[in-house]
């Protein structure tokens, strides 16, 4: 197994954590270790966690730290090779053939200029410049997962008209899943794995202070406590980190315009709860939740 001890000057999980912080992403020790190991061992990084814990953000931040372009492949039910790998530019091929008929110059219609690169092919061809993010893989079909398996083990694909295309170095690939269904064991096995939890209150507070401008410490603390409480309620959609940041921001804004504190939180509740049933469920309790949170 080829091991790269240091990638763009990052030689340990701790250094990666520092670099991620500079890219405005606060990673915990587990995540930075897993991400560092994935980079060093040349394996894909599989991030799982509830929606809104910052999986995609983590991928973006890692791309930023490495100074590489992020190629994002959003998975959906029915995604296929044409959307993920490559497609031939048929109209251009056709025009070139017509041209050939009139001019007489032979053209190779399977040349690069007729190939439309999709994220996975682009990543194979320029592994040193890109980070491939395969987002929400749990939404794709099982066949696509199996197809991905082949891609992730050899980093090679074959185009019938062109032959096999292989990455000349192992590309950085990050996969995310919301775990709406279980991924295949073989896929998990090929990856370095990390389950992202909701952050600890103290870390979430630091995230809010870093991400949201102008939010006071007291407001941030109250938001963290209230959001933590809401995550323990049986809601359809638990508030993620982005929601917590937005809530802190929205409440601060209302407060600046003259709303009193608990009132500002209550009026901006729509930023956190985006489901009518959840709203109705929480409404009678919100006073106590906010009071307990010290808002």
């Amino acid at each position: 197994m080829p091991v790269r001890r240091s990638i763009v000057g990052i030689g340990s999980p701790h250094e990666l954590e520092e670099a991620l912080r500079a890219a405005y992403y606060l990673a915990d020790e587990g995540l930075s270790t897993a991400a560092y190991l994935a980079l060093a061992l040349g394996k894909p990084l599989l991030l799982e966690g509830a929606p809104g814990v910052g999986k995609t953000e983590a991928a973006k931040a890692i791309g930023g730290v490495l100074g590489r372009k992020l190629l994002r492949l959003q998975c959906y039910e029915g995604i296929d090779a044409a959307a993920a790998l490559y497609e031939w530019n048929f109209p251009r091929q056709m025009l070139a053939l017509r041209q050939e008929n009139t001019d007489g110059d032979p053209v190779d219609i399977y040349h690069d200029e007729f190939l439309i690169e999709r994220p996975m092919l682009a990543c194979l061809r320029h592994p040193e410049e890109t980070v491939l993010l395969i987002d929400e893989i749990d939404r794709s079909d099982h066949e696509f997962e199996a197809f991905l398996l082949e891609f992730l083990s050899d980093f090679q694909i074959s185009i019938p008209e062109r032959g096999a295309i292989r990455a000349h170095e192992r590309p950085v690939v990050i996969l995310t899943s919301n775990r709406t269904r279980e991924l295949h064991e073989a896929l998990r096995r090929r990856c370095v794995y990390h389950w992202i939890e909701y952050p600890s209150p103290e870390r979430e507070m630091r995230i809010i202070m870093m991400r949201a401008s102008g939010v006071g410490e007291r407001a941030a603390r109250a938001v963290v406590a209230a959001v933590g409480r809401l995550r323990r309620e049986p809601l359809a959609k638990h508030p993620g980190i982005a929601e917590a940041v937005e809530w802190a921001q929205a409440a601060t804004l209302l407060n600046e315009q003259g709303a009193r504190w608990p009132e500002a939180f209550r009026r901006s509740l729509g930023v956190v709860l985006k489901d009518e049933d959840d709203f109705v469920y929480v409404a009678p309790k919100i006073e106590t939740i906010l009071a307990e949170a010290g808002a």
Partner: protein, 369 residues
């Protein structure tokens, strides 16, 4: 040569320990873990633990168990241990594709000895009444058109398809001296979703077992992809037996495979065994899971809940049909069903063959919650 004594052996014995506790650890993961430890230095125990979590990838719901094993192995602490399925439990499953030769087709099959007698007794027992037979006939006719389908990965040419079939148009154009004569369209091929039927054959379901198996036979024969299992105190796969054409013969062959007729019920454990066997588990992936059972559990009811929680993440839809739910105001009472309820897409009426047939035919109708 690799040194298999000393510290390395200590690490490798941890992966062996994990496997014994039913964690899936592949050799490439062990290698990655060792490489990771070397890479990290390791400064402290935390490094080794984090490396193990990242490379050996324990599922999040078993993380605590994983950590306990880790502590016990490397720190020598003895925490309360939740053990994985024991050897005994893993054996609590039978697969008809691995038991002896192919069932013999044809009319001149002679069964001999007490096995046959037992089989006949079962086959003869209270067989489907007249209107049941009518329900099954209707089901067999309607199934091919109404079984749930999923979009396949491959394309096929189709008029009015969702995208244009440029490849085919090009090939046509070659034949017509480079002229595009017709616009071709294509669409995704659709395939039938596998239906996994789990039939409870325990004592409490005694009255209905025979009708349920008759239904299973029609399903196994009529669906492109269907898998039939029975559960009681153990799990048995009877798909192949039920593919036999004649119902009596199919049921007799199946009943010889099932060793736990009319016995106790350990649904949680049997479903757990289903999930613990990768071969079976793969059958449930993306499938429609239908359980015919009253949910009366002798074993630990929480095991049933856990098993259904996993099924809900693996299967496309999970439906539990219980004969107790004939009443519309039915609320699950048994501890097992209460534990499993949150993970089911539907808990419905399995009181008559009519309602079971209707339910399976309507699987494709509504979207999951």
């Amino acid at each position: 040569m690799m040194d298999t004594t000393g510290p390395l052996a200590h690490f490798l014995s941890f992966t062996a320990l994990l496997r014994r506790a039913a964690f899936a650890v592949a050799p490439e993961q062990s290698i990655a873990w060792l490489a990771a430890i070397e890479l990290l230095g390791p400064q402290e125990m935390g490094d080794i633990r984090r490396a193990a979590r990242a490379t050996l990838a324990p599922p999040p719901e078993r993380l605590a168990e994983f950590d306990t094993l880790f502590d016990r192995h490397f720190l020598g602490t003895f925490g309360a241990m939740e053990t994985g399925p024991s050897e005994d439990e893993r054996l609590r499953a039978a697969d008809d594709s691995s038991v002896g030769p192919e069932p013999i087709f044809g009319d001149d099959t002679h069964e001999s000895g007490d096995k046959a007698t037992a089989a006949e007794r079962l086959a003869a027992r209270r067989f489907a009444a007249g209107d049941d037979r009518e329900a099954l006939r209707h089901f067999a006719r309607a199934l091919p058109a109404r079984a749930p389908r999923r979009r396949g990965y491959r394309w096929r040419g189709a008029r009015g398809g969702s995208s244009s079939d440029v490849r085919r148009m090009f090939r046509d154009a070659m034949r017509n001296a480079g002229e595009f004569v017709r616009l071709r369209r294509r669409k995704r091929r659709s395939r039938q979703r596998r239906i996994v039927l789990v039939v409870d054959v325990s004592g409490s379901m005694k009255e209905r077992t025979q009708a349920h198996l008759a239904f299973a036979h029609v399903l196994a024969r009529g669906a492109e992809r269907a898998e039939i299992f029975t559960i009681g105190t153990r799990l048995t796969r009877i798909t192949r037996a039920l593919r036999l054409r004649h119902r009596e013969q199919a049921l007799a062959t199946a009943s010889r495979l099932v060793g736990d007729w009319d016995g106790g019920t350990r649904i949680g454990e049997a479903l757990g065994a289903f999930l613990a066997i990768p071969r079976f588990c793969a059958l449930a992936r993306g499938a429609a899971l239908v359980v015919l059972s009253d949910g009366l559990e002798w074993g630990d009811p929480s095991a049933m809940g856990e098993a259904m929680a996993r099924f809900s993440r693996i299967a496309w839809r999970s439906v539990w049909l219980t004969p107790l739910a004939g009443d519309t105001r039915f609320e699950p009472r048994t501890a097992g069903l209460v534990a499993a309820r949150p993970f089911l897409d539907e808990l419905g009426d399995g009181g008559s063959l009519d309602s079971i047939c209707a339910r399976v035919l309507n699987l494709a109708r509504e979207r999951p919650a």
